[in-house]
Symmetry: C2
Subunit: 363 residues, 2 copies
């Protein structure tokens, strides 16, 4: 029997993934999306990990999404079809996409501005390829996407009439809809938002354009999107790992598979201890902190780059110097982004260490 290493022996702060929960989350989402007759294309920006993407594709996903060119390059090198969900605005970046296509990659991209159509067309010409391009629609957040009016139709026409581009459909993602608290409110918000995209899709189809594909959606709306016939492809990402944010809005549908393991490194006071995890171990973009697991009576306080304080009041177990404490992260995507490896555990023991290339930056 091989020597086994406890999950608690990972050097802290450590990013842990519980394999049983991960696999169960992947299977559950895939089953629901397949049952609805749609494709699942999970967003790899959530985990940036080829090993997790591989499990998603083996379970039936059509490929993955990426938010940056670097993520796209990595996911292609791991063997997956990739949709870049973010518009770019630099010929150096559109050239990188075209180079992937030239290398045989199944890549697709989005545009929300006529200049981006020209950039991709020019890069495609230089590389001698034809690129699949979707029109990114603004369905209310005013973050990216072209408004769902005549401008979207004109942009789609422009793609369709570019010699080296193929119109491949539309993309619509509602940031606000995905994060609305409460399932009913979320359903109303997100279906109202997506209705604008469906209207554009219908106009494009009426014009004889190839706009069958409508890609979007999220973990927050996973069991809302499945009921919308016009959506053909779902992009949920966080469901695989989960975080406090999605659990708070009423989405306890998936298991908390990702945790951060920390060590108690200071305990000079009876009412508090300090752990070795702070701003560099957890993304802090949510208005709430990490949640300690299996430890009632402990309240988190941010205490610096490398420190967090746990205020203790009638705690459910003693907390001593050197003890490990495991936390659910406020927001999974930018927390994964802080680590260079995942410690993958099955039950109490580590089963693998997965490298995380620094993907999101240098775009």
């Amino acid at each position: 029997m091989p020597m086994r290493v406890s999950r608690l022996d990972a050097p802290t702060p450590a990013l842990l993934v519980d394999l049983d929960r991960l696999e169960s989350n992947i299977a559950k989402m895939q089953a629901a999306v397949s049952r609805a007759g749609k494709q699942l294309r999970p967003h790899a920006k959530a985990h940036k990990c080829a090993e997790i993407a591989r499990r998603q594709v083996e379970a039936g996903a059509a490929g993955v999404c990426a938010a940056t060119i670097t993520e796209m390059e990595l996911m292609h090198s791991a063997g997956f079809s990739v949709l870049l969900t973010t518009p770019v605005a630099s010929p150096l970046k559109t050239d990188r996409v075209a180079a992937l296509a030239r290398a045989g990659a199944d890549v697709r991209v989005v545009v929300d501005h006529p200049d981006q159509v020209h950039l991709y067309q020019d890069s495609a010409v230089r590389a001698g390829v034809k690129l699949d391009v979707l029109v990114d629609l603004d369905i209310g957040d005013h973050r990216t996407g072209i408004p769902c009016d005549e401008r979207a139709i004109q942009l789609a026409r422009r793609v369709a009439s570019s010699a080296n581009l193929r119109l491949a459909g539309t993309q619509a993602y509602s940031v606000s809809g995905s994060h609305t608290e409460g399932w009913d409110a979320r359903r109303i918000h997100s279906t109202t938002a997506i209705a604008q995209a469906i209207a554009v899709q219908k106009r494009l189809l009426d014009l004889g354009l190839d706009a069958h594909t409508l890609t979007g959606g999220s973990t927050g709306t996973w069991n809302i999107d499945t009921a919308i016939p016009e959506i053909t492809e779902m992009q949920a990402g966080s469901y695989a790992l989960m975080d406090v944010a999605y659990r708070r809005i009423g989405g306890a549908d998936f298991a908390p598979a990702m945790t951060v393991l920390a060590t108690v490194i200071s305990c000079s006071h009876a009412d508090r201890v300090t752990v070795d995890a702070g701003f560099k171990a957890f993304a802090t973009d949510r208005p709430f902190g990490p949640e300690p697991l299996d430890l009632n009576g402990a309240r988190w306080e941010w205490a610096g780059d490398e420190h967090g304080v746990l205020h203790l009041e009638n705690v459910s177990r003693p907390v001593r110097l050197g003890d490990r404490v495991e936390f659910l992260a406020p927001h999974c995507d930018p927390t994964v982004n802080l680590y260079d490896r995942i410690y993958a555990a099955r039950g109490e023991y580590l089963e693998a260490v997965w490298p995380l290339k620094r993907l999101s930056l240098a775009g």
Copy 2:
């Protein structure tokens, strides 16, 4: 003449350092600390970059500080004396410190609990070395450090009486003192806090213990600490790069040398544009956002992992698709932590690309 690359051509989001400003910040701090007859040991957790540490040591610094063992190992491998300013509580970590000492490194560590003394003593015995240990004092923040009473004295005695440890002084850092707004308020807060450490230092010296070294301080208190005779070593780190946080509290003493470069990737609306920098490009632990440089009339809004929105109102220059915008980061340390390289620029052109090993994590 070699081909020159504009700083604006770094792939975005990119971490830029202005070399003229960096060098001027390093020289200014070193001159002030040397003039005060103290040692400067800049905190490398702020930049995690061997190239910046090298410039600090060449300017006269005694070595660097590190917040994690991994940072300590990297800074030692680059040739510098390193003080680990954070207590640890695992034999795997104390063994790594002892291994460095065995390899000839000039390393020192801190303790704030008797169990840590035992851990270091045991590791030192296993490695056959003697370790320099300082007592980390809690001067009011209750984050790490032992309270400045009899417990600190007993802990110092325990270090001094451990066969393989050498008492090397005390450490005192006031988080709250460093970040108090307004120089006068900051001076009162931090000098009151440090007075407790000075009292401990005096008692230890009276007992005949080697407690001459008192290390601490920060960018926020740099010209306060220099006037306190008992402080022998200053640990400021952020001064080299700077951020919005330290400028806001009234510390415009150092130049903003570090910026994040982003690209406008969406501009579907007259009153706003979207850039390719969000939670993964800036640490979000401060209650304010990045500040765009050379662009008046633009107000930042967080818009996701890879996106930020600039609301535009009477902007000082047009902002178009593909334009680059440069930002001062809210907080330098955890922002550097998001990148894997620094683009070092002299004026308008890039001069070097410095690798940043992922240092802070896996402790």
